[in-house]
Structure formats: structure tokens, C-alpha cells
């Protein structure tokens, strides 16, 4: 295990490394362009977007936001514990973060099931095209993030593990990316129109 003190203020060494931050910014830009597109079409079809938005369950959205934020908090605590060489604590916090992610996926699945049963599928209208694509791609990121965290957690628990602080920080940065995207997606889809 390596918990060396990196000087994060150097240009090439943001927490988690420069590569993960390039991915984070590219993902934010991609989702951002889609969100601007959502607003554009929302103003062209005001009535359709308003009526469609009313068919979304805001409670599901709020609860999912709370679980993602809680998961993000425990992920940040996990990185902090790992930096302090408390591997057991880091592993425990990461598992709690994973549970938060799993609950998010379960709630999202329930929501999707209800939407499909109600006939609110991808081709229903432009609002639901955006809804399915944006939340669907976000869900894929959550699932990929969970796989990354599971792998890091398994390696963390091995004896004489070679896992480095950079690895944990990079995994955490990807996990927080899901929070970052969701805090923009949630109001745009569930509240504005």
C-alpha cells in the first residue's frame, strides 16, 4: 500500500491524476451539451415537455439524489481514511458508498419499469428521448463506477496489496463524476419544465 503525500498543486497532479480529470471534464462537457439541447427543445415544445415532466416521479428523483450524495460523502471519507493508512476504515466506507450506489440502481430500475409499463418509452416524445438517453447513460456510469469500486475494494483487502493512493483517488473521482452529472440532470429533467 502506498499513501505517499502528493503535491496536488502541481499542474499534472490533480487528485487522482491528470487522466481521470480529462475523462471527468470530457464527460461533463458531453452531458452539458445534451442538457443545453434539452432546454432548447423544451422551449420549442413547451406544452409537451411540461406534461411529460409531470409524469416523472419527483420523489424518486429526490430520494436518488440523497442516496448519491450520501454515497459520495462515504467515498470521500474512504479516500481520507486510506490517506491516513486506515485501510480497514477505507474499505468499510467504500462498501457503504457501494450500498448507496446499489440503492440508486434499484430505485432507477423501479422507475424505469413503471415508465415502460405506462408506455413512456424512448420514442414517446422528445422529452422522453432525452430522459431515457440522459438517465440511461448516467446509469451506465454508476454501474461502471460500482465495478471500479468493487475491484479497488477487493484489492484493498488483499494482504501486501500494491494498491496506491492514486488508484483510490482515481476510482473516487469517477464515482463523484456520477454525483456531478446527477446534480445537473436531476433539476433539468425533474423540476424545470
Amino acid at each position: 500500500m502506498s499513501t505517499n503525500n502528493t503535491n496536488y498543486s502541481r499542474f499534472f497532479y490533480p487528485p487522482g491524476g491528470i487522466l481521470i480529470w480529462m475523462i471527468v471534464f470530457l464527460e461533463i462537457i458531453t452531458f452539458g451539451i445534451a442538457l443545453i439541447g434539452l432546454m432548447y427543445y423544451g422551449q420549442q415544445e413547451t406544452e409537451v415537455f411540461h406534461l411529460s415532466r409531470l409524469k416523472l416521479n419527483v420523489t424518486f428523483g429526490v430520494v436518488n439524489t440523497l442516496f448519491l450524495l450520501t454515497s459520495g460523502y462515504f467515498m470521500a471519507r474512504s479516500v481520507q481514511s486510506f490517506r491516513e493508512k486506515d485501510v480497514i476504515g477505507a474499505s468499510r466506507f467504500m462498501k457503504i458508498a457501494l450500498v448507496g450506489g446499489a440503492i440508486f440502481v434499484i430505485i432507477k430500475t423501479i422507475e424505469y419499469y413503471a415508465k415502460i409499463n405506462a408506455g413512456l418509452t424512448l420514442d414517446k416524445n422528445m422529452f422522453f428521448t432525452f430522459y431515457w438517453l440522459l438517465t440511461g447513460f448516467h446509469l451506465v456510469h454508476v454501474l461502471v463506477g460500482m465495478v471500479i469500486l468493487i475491484i479497488i475494494n477487493l484489492k484493498m483487502n488483499q494482504k501486501n496489496t500494491s494498491i496506491k493512493l492514486d488508484d483510490v483517488e482515481a476510482g473516487a473521482a469517477f464515482w463523484h463524476l456520477c454525483d456531478l452529472v446527477w446534480v445537473l440532470l436531476f433539476p433539468a429533467l425533474y423540476l424545470i419544465f
Partner: protein, 88 residues
């Protein structure tokens, strides 16, 4: 008094929860003009976005370029959304 890193994370978390509740309440407000409600909701989303990146992802410790990029891209997205919202 210096706030420990653990306390800083907890304060950020509680603040994020408070902002989420505020957003939910704001969306149900009927007394204000729709544009101001949308502006408020997006402004809160931007604050949450910054809090997560700076505190949870520890970008506050990074080189000023990364912080500038975060403010610039996040701000541009919110600004773009607002412009599109009121452009018709």
C-alpha cells in the same frame, strides 16, 4: 479555529442535503415568476456541482488551472441552459 478534514466533509454533505431540499421546495413555489424559479434551481445546482468537485473530489487542492476549468465549464453549461430557456 481550523476545521478538520472530516468535519469539512460532513459540513459539505449537510449543506448538499440542505440545498437539495431547498431545490425541491423552490420547484413547488407558485408565487414567483417561472424564470426566477428556474434561475434559482440552476444556481443551486451550480453550487452543488462546485461543492462536490472542490470538497469531495478535493479539486480545491489542485492547480488553479483545474479550478478555473471547473468554474468555466460548469458556469458555461448553466449559462447555456438559462439562455436556451429564455430564448423563445
Amino acid at each position: 479555529m481550523k476545521i478538520s478534514n472530516t468535519h469539512s466533509l460532513l459540513i459539505t454533505y449537510l449543506f448538499l442535503l440542505l440545498l437539495t431540499a431547498t431545490t425541491a421546495l423552490l420547484s413547488g413555489t407558485s408565487g414567483l415568476k417561472q424564470y426566477w424559479i428556474v434561475l434559482g434551481i440552476l444556481a443551486i445546482a451550480f453550487i452543488k456541482f462546485l461543492l462536490i468537485a472542490l470538497n469531495y473530489m478535493e479539486l480545491s487542492k489542485a492547480h488553479v488551472f483545474w479550478k478555473f476549468l471547473l468554474f468555466f465549464i460548469g458556469g458555461l453549461i448553466i449559462f447555456g441552459m438559462l439562455v436556451m430557456y429564455q430564448s423563445f
